[in-house]
Amino acid sequence: MATGIKDKVAIIGMGCTKFGERWDADANALMVEAYNEAIADAGIEPGEIQAAWVATCFDEINVGKSALAASIALRLPNIAVTRVENFCASGTEAFRGAVYAVASGAYDIVLAIGCEKLKDIGYGGLPEFSQALGILNGLWFPNVTAPGCFAMLAGGYAAKYGLKMEDVKRAMAHISVKSHANGALNPKAHLQRPVTEEQVLQSPMIAYPLGLFDCCGVSDGAACAIVCSVDVAKAMKKKDFVTVKALQISVSNGEEMAFSNWDGAHVVNTEKAAIRAYAEAGIKNPREELSLLEVHDCFSITELVTMEDLHISERGKAIDDVMDGFFDSTGKIPCQIDGGLKCFGHPIGASGLRMVYEIYLQLHGRADKRQLKNPDIGLTQNLGGFPMMNVISVAIVGRYT
């Protein structure tokens, strides 16, 4: 009988690079930067790592396929290294691989590292990915981009709840303003400047109705975690450590896009992954129990809708919570207290681990100017793909009690 992952695995060290347009650094350098921080944080020797999971998404433009690049960059001692890729959930997939490996009892100490070097391609936005959905889709699929697909969600959401687009836009702007204010306090964020609601609303249109400031940045970065079993953490005399409470992935089976049962106003798999994660973590009322959220705010509308899919806000009511400041740094559940994808940008393979990194810092009281008061438990969520076809990851980490 499966018992879930709760409190079986401890995070004993984490690292995260400065995210941004890292013209100076290649993928190898980024991985080493995150790795060195994590090793020092965990207080272990590199030789103690017994296996590693590495996440990259756009493999061809940075490190190539396979786990070789990570193994070589980190000079890992000929251990098992596995590369994973699952769109924007890749980073969390690497974390999941490492956590499950420890939980299985196969290893004592395992590394999860995610990295993406996006800014070597010569143009803005994510790399062109028309081939990423396979040869057949390339022969009929619209030439979609990420902002285009998420823009559709805004229209679908407004239509479903009979909202005026200007009201949805204002809530979306509030989300961006909030995240920029948070990011301004984070030296590792790519974008560290506060913005005004007016600036957001007047930014040039990228994909109707999303303007430039509704979109997250595109940047380079790496993040990494070192995990071990709770027993090993205790044996290492770690105190007040953080454990994994839930790890869930939910993947579309094509229903949203081909079967007439999806409303176009929510993300099916976020809700499914969240329900399973809450059950795994023993959370009954996420709105009351969660201390902070790090969600996949690739676009402001995504964060808005995600609040409903995570059962924090009621259906159709996320706008009210957003405008009430519920998710602001001073609100009941701060969301993207580190600045989120909005300010960190989205180096695909790194993002999931970057989110866990922030919750880890917050739980340890090491978040400096943006430190929250006594957080106990936090949730991360990634949305890989598009609203109508996606890979969702949800991770919950908290204090070990």
Binding site: T145, G148, G155, G156, A207, Y208, S260, G264
Partner: protein, 480 residues
């Protein structure tokens, strides 16, 4: 009785005002002043001789079951493929049976009428019961040339057969003469045209009257028996001059003002336009011109009164939208506009995948589950209905003829597009099924959640490096 049993027409949405071109380019070519009236039709960037032929044929199939078509004869001088049968693409887009005869007719502007005559012969000889004839043209012309103002883009389709004939064939005549008013050598993009005076006097002005006289003599008939005489001639004065020479008061408009000369398609475009208002008993003479003439004559029957009129040329002409000249130049790649690095990566088309999924890609054929009846696209072996999920029990299901409703949409400025913003969204089909589709022939401002759309066969991607054109279906908001 053998003749036309159905017809359809298609003139693309965009119109280029000739005055606009004169205003902008007559400083360079003063001959343009002679062509400053009216407007010409312009194919959208995702339309070509194949897609417009499909549009006209779909229109004609309102009155004929596509599985009853025995042959597809496709005419054009601007087919996208020199080798890969264009008629085969058209036949698959129409979901014809796989034992239809498919033939490309090309090489001369009279090929459209020649295709009709060949189709009539096939029916007469009983080698086919019904033949779909299509003629579509999208010719390239140099910027600021007179041809740019004289030509238009469009297509027509006729179904020729024996049953429910609306216009009976009453004769045909071929007259051949290697008169070269213009030509386009292999590998050349543009026509090379000879002096206009020569073309008018020795070409249109002599050959068409000669051929018509030979036809009349052959059938012991008089031109005045014809309520409608159709011949293409883009020169207005010469078009009228020919009428005087043949002594007919019933010469049909050459559609220069609203369409322009649609090349191979033009005699059939004019015929379809005439059929839109034809009455029983009307005799119609149709002349194709190019290295001589191909002539065919019809007599409209009583059946036309109960014939369900297609969208046709008349309504297609009325459905129009201006195109600014610079946008037209970009559509035809007559200006070397900047493209983003994002647009550089053009993968080749897997001909293996294209072949394996040809019904899906050409005909927009998905599945309908035998167990639960759910229409679905793209076609996968296991039913998408979560309450069913039955494996391997699917019937083919055609989506190309279904209307739909927009569920979600966007106008994407980031996506590489010939005409930004790229418009796409999720469409729910009447009768079930939904999928993500491009929108075309529309603007962002016209789209809404709930907008009704119809399907249109269009260019999906253009691989100019390898010379390949890939097609799929797009959604067009219903204007009427």
């Amino acid at each position: 009785m053998i003749g036309i049993v159905s017809y359809g027409g298609y003139i693309p949405l965009r119109r280029l005002s000739r005055m606009q071109v004169v205003q902008q380019m007559a400083w360079y070519n003063s001959l343009l002043y002679s062509l400053m009236t009216g407007e010409r039709s312009v194919a959208n960037w995702d339309e070509d001789a194949i897609t417009m032929a499909v549009a006209a044929a779909v229109d004609a199939l309102q009155n004929v079951e596509q599985k009853s078509i025995d042959a597809v004869y496709a005419a054009s001088t601007s087919f996208p493929f020199d080798d890969r049968q264009n008629a085969a693409v058209i036949a698959e887009a129409l979901n014809c049976r796989n034992n239809v005869r498919t033939v490309d007719m090309a090489g001369s502007l009279k090929a459209g009428v020649s295709a009709v005559v060949a189709a009539l012969d096939a029916v007469e000889s009983d080698s086919a019961n019904k033949v779909m004839v299509t003629a579509g043209e999208r010719r390239f012309t140099r910027a600021a040339s007179t041809l740019e103002l004289m030509y238009g883009d469009g297509a027509a389709a006729l179904v020729v057969g024996r049953e429910n004939v609306i216009a009976e064939c009453i004769g045909s005549y071929s007259y051949h003469e290697d008169f070269v008013d213009h030509y386009r050598g292999a590998d050349k993009r543009f026509d090379y045209q000879w002096e206009e005076r020569f073309i008018r006097d020795e070409g249109f002005g002599r050959i068409i009257p000669t051929a018509i006289k030979l036809f009349c003599d052959n059938y012991h008939t008089d031109i005045n028996e014809f309520a409608c005489v159709i011949y293409p001639c883009p020169f207005a004065r010469e078009h009228a001059g020919i009428a005087k020479k043949i002594k007919s008061a019933h010469v049909y408009t050459n559609l220069h003002d609203g369409v322009g000369d649609t090349g191979v398609a033009h005699p059939l475009v004019m015929l379809c336009h005439a059929l839109d208002s034809a009455k029983p008993g009307d005799k119609i003479l149709v002349v194709g011109f190019g290295q001589g003439c191909e002539i065919v004559a019809f007599k409209v029957t009583d059946a036309i009164e109960s014939f369900k009129r297609p969208r046709g040329i008349t309504r297609s002409i009325a459905n129009k939208k201006d195109i600014p000249y610079p946008k037209y130049l970009k559509f035809r790649e007559l200006i070397n506009a900047d493209t983003s690095i994002r647009a550089e990566a053009v993968p080749n088309t897997s001909l293996t995948a294209l072949w394996r999924h040809r019904k899906m890609l050409n005909g927009f054929v998905g599945y309908k589950c035998k167990a639960c009846g759910t229409p679905q696209f793209p076609p996968y072996p296991i039913c998408v209905n979560p309450a069913c999920n039955k494996s391997g029990a699917m019937d083919d299901y055609v989506f190309s003829d279904k209307m739909g409703t927009v569920l979600m949409y966007t106008g994407d400025m980031l996506a590489a597009s010939v005409e930004p913003p790229a418009l796409y969204g999720l469409v729910e089909f009447d009768g079930g099924g939904r999928t993500l589709l491009d929108f075309t022939d529309c603007e962002l401002e016209k789209l809404n959640v709930g907008t009704k759309v119809a399907m249109s066969f269009r260019i999906h991607r253009q691989d100019s490096m390898r010379g390949f054109t890939g097609y799929f279906w797009k959604a067009v908001p219903i204007m009427e």
